[in-house]
């Protein structure tokens, strides 16, 4: 179980300020402010399509905001030199939503890939490092398999082994437990916690799995309509999840509680029903709202 722990420092290693991003006419991020502290696990939640992956893509410098700034380790992506960008990239690892393994390489070769970029590392050292990383995710005996020979969960774990190949200081996880069986999913949770607590890694985890979120999070943040709707400690979100109707102070509280509990009835559902379905079908709504 994650606890408030001494490894978290007040220093922010990821800083998003006023980040806005549109795709065409669709504004996906609308002034997102989010600071992640060194050594913490920040869980990012929100409905499907609300912009979580887009947010992660800004954090890794794969997308540039229309306005606002994104800083990693105190450096703004917008003003980084190529050299600084390359150096920054070495300091974080990503577990993509899809796993993103190279299909023509074995699992071991996939993990070795980022290590081979370090010319100073001898082949024998790389082989040992690959074994250590694969052991970490329980795939050591599958090193010689091709990605196509692995199950979805094993691909995820192989992706994680590759993400940690260079001992990153920040790890980004996009849906690490989606599609995994409960045991594997719990193992991934424990691995995220161990990496953070033991190796002082900072983690940003996008997840829909509430059990997992409440197991690993130090802080949680909920995205909605392109903004950070709520950010707080795990305890604050637990209290909200467990609150009785009378204890909720706002419509927003109700909405967050519905999301955390995963209930079908509540403001999220109401909003879906009223969001221009009739317009979309080129119909005139016959009932006034």
């Amino acid at each position: 179980m994650a606890m408030e722990h001494e490894n978290i420092s007040e220093e922010a290693v990821i800083e998003l300020d006023g980040v806005t991003k549109s795709f065409g006419t669709q504004k996906v991020l609308d002034g997102v402010n989010l600071h992640v502290k060194r050594g913490e696990i920040m869980v990012v939640m929100g409905g499907s399509g609300c912009g979580k992956s887009t947010l992660l893509n800004h954090m890794i410098g794969a997308l540039t905001p229309d306005s606002g700034s994104v800083k990693l380790f105190g450096r703004d992506y917008a003003t980084m030199t190529d050299e600084e960008l390359a150096e920054t990239r070495m300091r974080f690892g990503i577990l993509f939503q899809s796993g993103a393994l190279i299909s023509s390489l074995t699992i071991g070769e996939n993990v070795a890939l980022p290590l081979r970029e370090h010319k100073s590392l001898d082949d024998n050292i790389i082989d040992i490092m690959v074994k250590i990383k694969l052991e970490l995710v329980g795939l050591r005996e599958h090193a010689d398999k091709m990605p196509a020979q692995l199950s979805g969960g094993m691909k995820k774990r192989a992706g994680l082994a590759r993400a940690v190949a260079l001992d990153p200081q920040i790890l980004f996880y996009d849906e690490p437990s989606a599609g995994l069986d409960p045991v594997t999913s719990a193992q991934i949770d424990q691995l995220i916690i161990a990496l953070t607590r033991k190796l002082h890694v900072t983690s940003v985890v996008v997840t829909h799995e509430m059990d997992s979120a409440f197991t690993i999070a130090d802080r949680m943040c909920m995205l909605d309509l392109g903004k950070v709707m709520r950010i707080g400690s795990r305890k604050e979100f637990e209290d909200l999840r467990d609150a009785a109707d009378g204890e909720l102070k706002s419509e927003q509280d109700l909405l967050i509680r519905q999301f955390l509990r995963g209930g079908a009835e509540g403001p999220i559902t109401d909003r879906q029903q009223s969001s221009g379905y009739a317009d979309d079908l080129s119909l005139v709504a016959t009932r006034t709202q």
Partner: protein, 116 residues
């Protein structure tokens, strides 16, 4: 980079009875693990009965450093030497633990224990 890293990774090499003691210093990361590797290979050429690696002045080690020590163990076993580690800071010990290598290495609380 800390003050200690500005100089070599080996702080001192001592010959004790039946053992060579290698004292390390500074962070052992990608930029310094190959230097450590060369030094270890050098010492193991002498086929000492035991190689004691004292890491008291090492605050941080990454997995390239860890892999270098694994290779050192492979080689020492081949040479019939015994490899012993001592002076592991909590943070360094964590690197062994998370990789489940703390049970594979011989790790001692003090150098005198490692030598006895």
């Amino acid at each position: 980079m800390s003050e200690a890293d500005k100089t070599g990774v080996v702080k001192n090499i001592r010959n004790e009875q039946n053992a060579v003691v290698l004292e390390l210093r500074g962070d052992i990361d990608m930029s310094r693990s190959s230097e450590l590797r060369e030094q270890i290979l050098d010492v193991l050429q002498q086929k000492p009965a035991a190689l004691v690696i004292n890491m008291t002045d090492v605050a941080f080690m990454d997995s390239s450093g860890l892999a270098t020590l694994v290779e050192a163990m492979q080689l020492s076993q081949r040479h019939g030497s015994s490899l012993r580690l001592t002076g592991l800071a909590t943070r360094v010990r964590s690197v062994f633990e998370i990789s489940r290598l703390d049970t594979i290495f011989e790790i001692y609380e003090s150098e005198s224990e490692a030598l006895s």
